[in-house]
Symmetry: C2
Subunit: 208 residues, 2 copies
């Protein structure tokens, strides 16, 4: 990210265009124009639009997983529910910091392509392992009866992407009003409240 | 839908391709090949790929909104929470019945295009009115303290699209195991459980 400013300029231009118009809807020419570089420079750096995509996705997911693994390994105290909540916070924080690319990547992942299948067995498998693991641990000690574990895990994963796949709606109604930081705090709070419900914390409180 | 079988064949082929490869990633030639018709027939019916998209989206949303309005106007008994729950059921049922197109349309809505902006002021505004209205009514009589109304409405709307924007993940883990009907029932149940939490029904039960 730091070493090569024109390479990064190309990536930023591509992120912004992919976000607005999608991968297929963006041409190498569009990217070159937006980044104010020559088309041949993009070929030189990335070979093709596909090469650029793979580079940018790798950059995004490597940094994401690295951060999540660090955060996870540094958490020692707290209940399994606290640890899960902290992970949720870090995930949303990262996604929000890379808002355009998060929107783009989650849209792209809904396609049925070779690229998606490759992603699924690499980065997404690792991400899934991390999240499921944290979730199962919390569920073990806190689970409310009558909930289907597979469905609620997928629902949690849905909550982690909703602001990015429904970004037009969130932008209109919410995100525009807040800084990234405030949005992250407020959004994470609603996910935490839902986790409290799942994990029957509130129920326990009420019984006391 | 009934009158013109070859027109409908084109729409079905297009839905399936848009779903797999996205709108921009699909050519009129691809659609013609899949539908086993001549390219010129597509031009004759729809003028262009954009024309086909608009036709198919109109068909999807007109039928969707018509059904939701009917369902809503026919609900008389029950609390406002019951009515909201029934609406949620009908929405998921419709989306699941048109699974591929639902996946496609929700992906497309995350783009920033003239088409999306047109959708936003027509069909999406109507849909939003229906859902918000049902939600606000239920919230009036049932609301749990400490929840941010805007965030939880968006979260509900997120739950209504999650299985379609994260369709690869749902397909792998859940959807393949069930018929559409069973999936709808099981999924809607988890949304209802969440609504019970929001609306403090469980809390009330526990207090008794």
């Amino acid at each position: 990210m730091k070493k090569n400013p024109s390479k990064q300029k190309v990536i930023n231009a591509a992120s912004s265009l992919f976000y607005q118009k999608g991968f297929s809807g963006t041409s190498v020419r569009d990217i070159a124009d937006k980044a104010s570089v020559n088309v041949s420079l993009i070929s030189y750096y990335f070979k093709s639009k596909q090469g650029l995509l793979e580079y940018a996705v790798t950059q995004y997911y490597e940094a994401y997983l690295k951060r999540m693994e660090e955060v996870w390994s540094q958490m020692e105290e707290g209940s399994s529910l606290d640890r899960l909540k902290q992970l949720v916070f870090e995930i949303i924080k990262y996604k929000q910091e890379h808002h355009q690319f998060s929107c783009f990547i989650h849209r792209e992942l809904s396609l049925d392509s070779v690229f998606v299948r490759e992603m699924a067995v690499t980065y997404l498998a690792k991400e899934n392992y991390l999240i499921s693991n944290a979730f199962q641990e919390a569920l073990k000690s806190h689970r409310r009866k009558g909930l289907d574990a597979v469905f609620i895990l997928l629902q949690l994963k849905g909550m982690l992407v909703t602001p990015y796949v429904m970004q037009n709606e969130w932008k209109d109604k919410v995100v525009g009003d807040y800084s990234h930081d405030v949005f992250v705090k407020k959004y994470v709070k609603t996910v935490h409240q839902w986790l409290d419900f799942l994990m029957a914390e509130k129920q326990a409180e009420l019984k006391e």
